[in-house]
Structures are given as C-alpha cells and as structure tokens.
C-alpha cells in the first residue's frame, strides 16, 4: 500500500478522500431534522418582513411623489421670482445715465469723468449746501447725494474711457 500525498498548489478534492469525507460528514450529521415549527416561525417572519417592506415602499413612494410636487412647486416659485428680479435688473440698467447725459458730470473739467468728480461734487454739496443746477445729473430738480451717486456710477462704468 502506498501513502497518498496531497498536492496543495491547487484546490484539494474531497472526493479523493472519499472515506474520510464520508465519515466526517456522518460524524457531524445532525441527529434530527429541523422541526416544522421552526420552518413555520421562519416562514411567518419572512412574510411579515416582506409585507412590511412593501408597505414602507408604498409609503416611501407616496412620500416621494409629495416631495417631488413640493420641490417642483418651490422650483417654479424660485424661477418666477428670479425672472421678476431679472426684469427689474434690466430696468435698472436702462435707468443708468446715458453717455450724453453724463458728459456734464466732468465736474473738475479735466476731460474725463472719474471718481474724483464724484468726490468734488460731494464736497461741494457738503460745504455750500448749494451748487449749480447744471450738476443736477439725474434731472430731479435737486442737486444732492443722488447726483453724486450718478457721477460715481458714470465714473466706474466700463465704457467711461470714451468720455
């Protein structure tokens, strides 16, 4: 009789040790089978679990639809508000003084409108409280802080270089 040698480079086949394998299986074979009460208990548990899952999935679906509607409504409100805001902004842009109107804003007469013109006008208003009506930049009949703002706005415009 020769001894069997294992080769461990590859997976070992229990079939090659059929007697050992069979005896080990027999050794650890359970004496009794699973009682039907245990099967029934597990069966009930399975069906309860999946019924719960279905119910919570239904609730989740309803919640999801409600949430979707809320999100859609909120998005619509935001879009509407945003569009209103854009309209206002475009109005503001059109309210900005035209180039021709602000040529008079060159308060210090140095040939260009810059922030110094706004400072000069502000200082003049502050000092005297009364300035020439030609500096009524916004045409509201008064020469005040709002006209300083108009000059400052003209000074920081990107296309001020054309003045």
């Amino acid at each position: 009789m020769t001894e069997r040698m294992e080769q461990f480079d590859e997976d070992l086949d229990p079939g090659e040790y059929s007697k050992l394998s069979a005896d080990l299986r027999a050794l650890f074979k359970t004496l009794r089978s699973v009682p039907p009460e245990v099967d029934r208990a597990v069966y009930d548990r399975i069906h309860r679990h999946f019924a719960g899952v279905k119910s919570s999935q239904g609730k989740y679906r309803r919640f999801r639809w409600a949430a979707l509607w809320k999100v859609a409504a909120a998005a619509a409100v935001v879009i509407f508000a945003f569009s209103l805001d854009l309209t206002k902004r475009s109005e503001r842009v059109t309210q900005r003084p035209a180039l021709a109107e602000i040529q008079a804003a060159d308060i210090d007469l140095n040939g260009r409108v810059d922030i110094l013109d706004a400072f000069t006008l502000a200082r003049q208003i502050e000092k005297t409280g009364h300035v020439e009506s030609r500096w009524d930049m916004n045409g509201d009949g008064l020469v005040d802080r709002r006209d300083v703002d108009t000059v400052a706005l003209a000074a920081v415009r990107l296309d001020k270089g054309v003045l």
């Binding site: 069997r4 005896d23 359970t30």
Partner: protein
C-alpha cells in the same frame, strides 16, 4: 435558480424567493450551528437568528461571494453569542466530546469515536478548516474569504491537519490506497 437570481427577486420584495433560499441553506446552517453550539436547541435558535439577520439585509442585499462564504461567519458569530449567553461550551471540543461518547443505543461506533478523538488533537484553526473543506464542502477560496484569512494560510493549515491525521494511528487508514 441560482442564488443571485433568488436574491435579486427577494430584493424586489418576493418572499417566495427568500423562502427558497431558506430551504436551500437551512440544513447546512443547522448542521454548522450544531457543530458550533453542540446543542440542538441552540442550533435551532442560531438557524432562526441567522435568517433574521439575512432577512434584515433585504431589500438591497448584494452578494459579493458565495452564500456559504457570507453565511459562515454569521453562523459562527451568532453561535458564539448564544453559547456565551447561556454559559455553554467554551470551545467546539464539547461537540467532539459528545461525539466520542457512546451512542444512544448504548453502542459506540469505533470508527466514529476514533475519528472524533483524532480530531480533538488538531489545533482549533486546523480542525475548523478541515471541517469547512470536507463537511461544509467549501472551496479553499471560499474558506479564505469566510475566515478573512490568506489562502496560503488556509492551504498550510489544511495540509498540517491532514498530515497529523495521516500519522495518527487512529486515522492513518484513510490515507492508504
């Protein structure tokens, strides 16, 4: 139907698919749990607890290895917890002691008893791998994954276990052709 297909169906809420998985692995788990606990009632409790644990994974369960690889550590962990809770065996040697004892009919199966005695001389980690391979029918890769152990370690432990049994007078006949 393959395990993965059943799992897929169970993930969609099909209880019958899960039930099929239960009947497929019930006896395997029961046998394994009995080996870990050495007690039939505890083994039945482990069986139920294991399926409750598995059930909790649904829906959304993804099987990345084989079912036995997934179930083995769960059964082992639950068995250890139940055994500790009830203050029963501190190791699976208890099962082997029980196996070496005379059978209910008052007769001792000599081969059975000697094989069980020979197994008690193996270190726990070697015996575990031997039983996983020969009794639970798991591949070396599955054993390595289930125990989270390198496959080289699994191979060497199995090799040492077989080597010990080959040179043990009670089991050497298994290795003769």
């Amino acid at each position: 139907m393959e395990d993965r297909e059943l799992i897929q169906l169970a993930n969609t809420g099909d209880p019958d698919a899960f039930e099929a998985l239960y009947y497929r692995y019930r006896d395997w788990i029961y046998r394994l749990a009995w080996r870990f606990t050495g007690n039939q009632q505890d083994a039945l409790d482990v069986l139920q607890e294991t399926f409750v644990y598995l059930l909790g994974k649904f829906p959304g369960f993804e099987l990345t290895a084989s079912m036995t690889t997934f179930l083995y550590p769960a059964v082992k962990h639950i068995s250890t917890a139940i055994r500790a809770k009830r203050g029963r065996f501190t190791s699976d040697n208890g099962v082997l002691d029980e196996l070496t004892a005379p059978t209910l009919e008052g007769q001792t199966d000599r081969n059975r008893s000697e094989l069980a005695t020979a197994l008690t001389i193996l270190p726990g980690e070697q015996r575990e791998i031997l039983l996983m391979r020969f009794v639970d029918d798991m591949s070396l890769q599955e054993i390595a994954a289930a125990l989270n152990t390198p496959i080289g370690t699994v191979k060497s432990r199995l090799h040492r276990a077989l080597h010990t049994l080959r040179y043990d007078r009670r089991t050497r006949d298994y290795f003769l052709e």
